[in-house]
Amino acid sequence: MGRTLAEKVWDAHVVRSADGEPDLLYIDLHLIHEVTSPQAFDGLRLSGRRVRRPDLTLATEDHNVPTVDVEAPIADPVSRTQVETLRKNAAEFGVRLHPLGDVEQGIVHVVGPQLGLTQPGMTIVCGDSHTSTHGAFGALAFGIGTSEVEHVLATQTLQQTRPRTMAVTVNGSLTEGVTAKDLILTLISRTGTGGGQGYVVEYRGQAIEELSMEGRMTVCNMSIEWGAKAGLIAPDRTTLDYLAGRPEAPRGDDWDAAVASWTTLVTDDDAAYDAEIVIDASEVTPFVTWGTNPGQGVPLGASVPAPEDFVTDSDRQAAQKALDYMGLTAGTPMREIAVDTVFVGSCTNGRIEDLRLAAEVLEGRRVASGTRLLVVPGSVRVRLQAEAEGLDKVFLESGAEWRGAGCSMCLGMNPDQLAPGERSASTSNRNFEGRQGKGGRTHLVSVPVAAATAVAGHLAAPSDLSAGV
């Protein structure tokens, strides 16, 4: 009996396996940030423990940092204390930190891949649910809570129960103008937020193979939004091309040895998944959310659904609550929904390819009056690359705000927030109530839809703009 990709990575990291106990898994890379780590370091201090492998640990500042005036001290004293706590902890325990102002600072899930630290076949964890992003490289990567952060710091391992496996096979090719984001939003609308619960999901098939690394990261990033433990994609030529020459990627003979190992990271022909979902890529169209969880989405060309469209009582009640919160009326065409703010950024869509897509739509156009567009690079490196390509000028000339790197408006924690009642089109990953600021209303969208929406002032695709909308 063959093994799936996920099983191969799992098996290669089992330190100890015993009946009636979870496996003890070795962790190759532990990423940390300011929000979910302070209590873990405190725990170490209280019990007199050290960080077992600071050389497998990397810290950056992302969730709670401003994206303007980044040279100035952080204005909010509570936020400042949290960031300073990370700096003190990193210094005390010998952990490499890329702080605000450093050229390698950025969102933790953008920084790992761009440094080349994220590699196929690794186990990667972080106190952040979007750690699933790193699965795009064929790594087993998942989010953990603060108690587990402390456990990894102290032992470089985690106690984990072997999950079930699922394949999501995407046949055919995505059509022009349809992105990885539309694909994953479509999938989540079919499965609901709990459909992947308990599974490690492998995305495969022609449409997945045709995605860039950035697109694959977008898909894997949102695995958690349908409840999956992790999402991963077998490494291939695209993966190797992305990794080659990155600062922390292997070189010379090490590269050859690594590639030989990575080449084995495919699901065997005779392996069996516990479940499978098949999607026809040609049916996927630009997709947007109308509700307050990522599963409440429809094609951009559709209308706001009515609660009675849903089968179960629970879904009907959830739909009614979502419509009330979102201030929407069933039957309204999605394209008629006007937005106040558009956010391009986050660990879902804040990489260089995303900014290029946004600039392509915005070139020679203006952001609609009454609409604000924030473009927030996922890392300082992404920002510098965008500026080298002149993308910043396109954004500024269109009337957009061009910011420093961070999680920004993906979560209402730093200064970039929606005001109560404000409505956004956002390339981020969560449309939960208040996610982008108390009382804020979020529509999740792809990058091209975000950029076109900024120009039109209401939800729109780039093709609507050429049609003179």
Partner: protein, 197 residues
């Protein structure tokens, strides 16, 4: 962590599915660097609504939260578990939990017990009719008992064992230090490191 064997208390009936961790505790409350003091952030936005069930004095002191499916979806923030515990909750019952939330609950000592939807409905009805009704969650028998309701709940065996004994995970793992060291010695030389030796 304190051992958990059985707990009796009253129920807070939360008639919502998909209670994500941004609802349990909004991000703005995550700036603290301590492990306690999160009770004021619990359901931070919903509590502004005077009709919200947590504001109902009849349910004051409830220690068992009963909610719809997909409880704890979204962010990995363990602060969600801490906020529930800081507020006085000892157990959460739901037909389905998000993985990370359930893991965090087990680590922090909050019982996350999976029950069938019909059990949730019966407990909601009971708590709404009779807010002072005593409900027992018994981890020894994996049962929830209330009036004429006796129903099983699911929890994975190892988490149950750890909770029953109040064990410290890190101490358990460190007792396998030799095995970790042996594994480390065999890792491929090309795996990346974050520090230059």
């Amino acid at each position: 962590m304190d051992a958990f064997t059985t707990h009796s208390g009253t129920v807070l009936p939360l008639r919502r599915s998909n209670v994500d961790t941004d609802q349990i505790i909004p991000a703005v409350y995550l700036k603290r660097v301590t492990r306690t003091g999160f009770e004021d952030g619990l359901f931070g936005a919903w509590r502004n609504d005077p009709e919200f069930v947590l504001n109902n004095p009849a349910h004051a002191g409830a220690s068992i939260l009963v909610a719809g499916p997909d409880f704890g979806t979204g962010s990995s923030r363990e602060h969600a578990v801490w906020a529930l515990m800081d507020h006085g909750f000892t157990a959460v019952l739901s037909p389905r939990f998000a993985d990370i939330f359930r893991g965090n609950a087990g680590k922090a000592g909050l019982l996350a017990a999976q029950v069938d939807q019909d059990v949730v409905e019966r407990l909601w009805a009971l708590a709404e009719q009779e807010p002072a009704a005593e409900v027992t969650v018994d981890l020894r028998t994996c049962e929830v008992r209330a009036g004429d309701v006796t129903a099983p709940f699911l929890i994975d065996d190892y988490t149950r064992f750890r909770l029953l004994n109040g064990l410290d995970d890190i101490a358990i793992t460190l007792s396998h230090d030799d095995e970790i060291s042996r594994y480390e010695a065999a890792r491929p030389s090309w795996t990346p490191v974050t520090l230059v030796n």
